[in-house]
Symmetry: C2
Subunit: 232 residues, 2 copies
DNA sequence: CGTTCAATTGATCAGCGTCAAACTAGGTGG
DNA sequence: CCACCTAGTTTGACGCTGATCAATTGAACG
């Protein structure tokens, strides 16, 4: 892999503190590949041969069972994914597909584990990353179990707003059908939920969202840092 | 803390590989306490001052929002809990209460982080533990989003069976109301779901479960390692 | 300009929660 | 020892949320 390509991931928390030597080991056998949309990068159940990093585009993590499918997360650059499976040398629990044209870096799991065994700073960075991922999933579980679909949508919009520097107008960065699946509902139900938020000052036109009455929306959503704060 | 008490946690994966010296640092400021049932050990939102370890009894992790509450997990000896919050020095995302008379070891988070910074083997053990926890929560999310409540119950019973060396008769190790909450349903609905499993060869009397037709139950439950295998 | 797929809308239905009441079991005190 | 109390469980009736099915609209793309 060319240095120009590795430099874009060098700054990630996960790799920032490691030695140059170990970073070279990590990237010597790496691939960079560009994929068209809707390509399934990994399938749940497969062996975790590579640690993946999205550096451009977008990737959806999803899972299926018995003919059903649900969206688990959407990843935007620059994010690693399926670190836990790589470290444990276990099968992927989720599948991943590109949702648009995407550039992905693939680090052989074997090398990741080797460096993990030898580089103590990297091992600690892995802990930080995993702890963060773990807490994100716990928050997600709380969201799912404690809130109705309308409340989930309302809080999701507030989180989007926060991600966009508290702008009252922003764009949904995914298809509504995938958003619906992520929020644990059907597209039809999402469509109705959006309508139901209109009295609370939410206007949605295609992917454009405008929040005209923040306090009403917050009164409904009742966001809490223990579910909705990304940084905690 | 007396050596007789520390020895019972020394064998845990998390502490097994660390130096004696660092183990002493970890336990020098530790408490052992015995609690009656229904004591709230930690509350979500609190600072993570201690890493907890159940060594006897049982502890429930739960979370609340807006007056609602849901059971997140039940911990049996010997298990650590809230490792992620301790390491990240972040607030707990879940509360914990004893469900019966329990003995709990409390390791000051400060010491845990100190040893984590200095003991590379411990850092790696933390990774293994966190990766395991992360994957458990992901599996739980899949269970919730992809299955109906009846299917969740059926698979839960099959997992219990597996945990009891594939015995067709075993005891539920928790109250039905907590099981219901854990499975994301109401006690009333659980009661009816249990009835609904009767045609599939499931007999439940109080806490005693008997599976009389495994293949029928499996045909309904359709268990998959990617959700139901604890070891993966 | 037609094809295609997502999004919407309406009608219907099932699953599950809510409320209320009856039942049970374990523990307490007369 | 038995009556009673308490808390969990079960049962029934009812209603709401959200899923399903079907049809229409809308938008992107060749």
């Amino acid at each position: 892999m060319r240095p120009s390509q590795t430099s874009e991931i060098r700054k990630l928390d996960l790799f920032r503190d490691m030695s140059e030597e170990n970073f070279l080991i990590l990237t010597r056998g790496a691939y960079v590949q560009t994929f068209p949309p809707q390509v399934e990068l990994i399938s749940e159940g497969d062996a975790a041969d590579f640690l993946h990093i999205v550096v451009a585009g977008g990737v959806e993590l999803f899972a299926g069972w018995n003919g059903r499918e649900t969206s688990m997360a959407t990843l935007r650059p620059i994010s690693t994914f399926i670190l836990a499976a790589t470290i444990r040398d276990a099968p992927y629990l989720m599948s991943a597909r590109t949702i648009e044209k995407s550039r992905v870096i693939l680090l052989p799991s074997y090398d990741v584990r080797e460096v993990f065994d030898n580089d103590n700073d990297f091992a600690r960075a892995v802990v930080a990353e995993l702890a963060q991922c773990y807490r994100a999933v716990v928050k997600n579980t709380k969201d799912m179990k404690l809130r109705t679909s309308l409340e989930r949508l309302a809080n999701y919009l507030l989180r989007c707003r926060a991600k966009n520097e508290d702008a009252d107008e922003f764009e949904l960065n995914m298809e509504k059908r995938r958003l619906a699946s992520y929020l644990g509902m059907t597209p039809e139900n999402l469509s109705r939920a959006i309508k139901a938020l209109r009295p609370y000052g939410v206007e949605v036109e295609a992917t454009a969202v405008r929040i005209t009455n923040l306090s009403d929306l917050e009164k409904l959503a009742k966001p809490t840092p223990l579910i909705d704060d990304k940084s905690l």
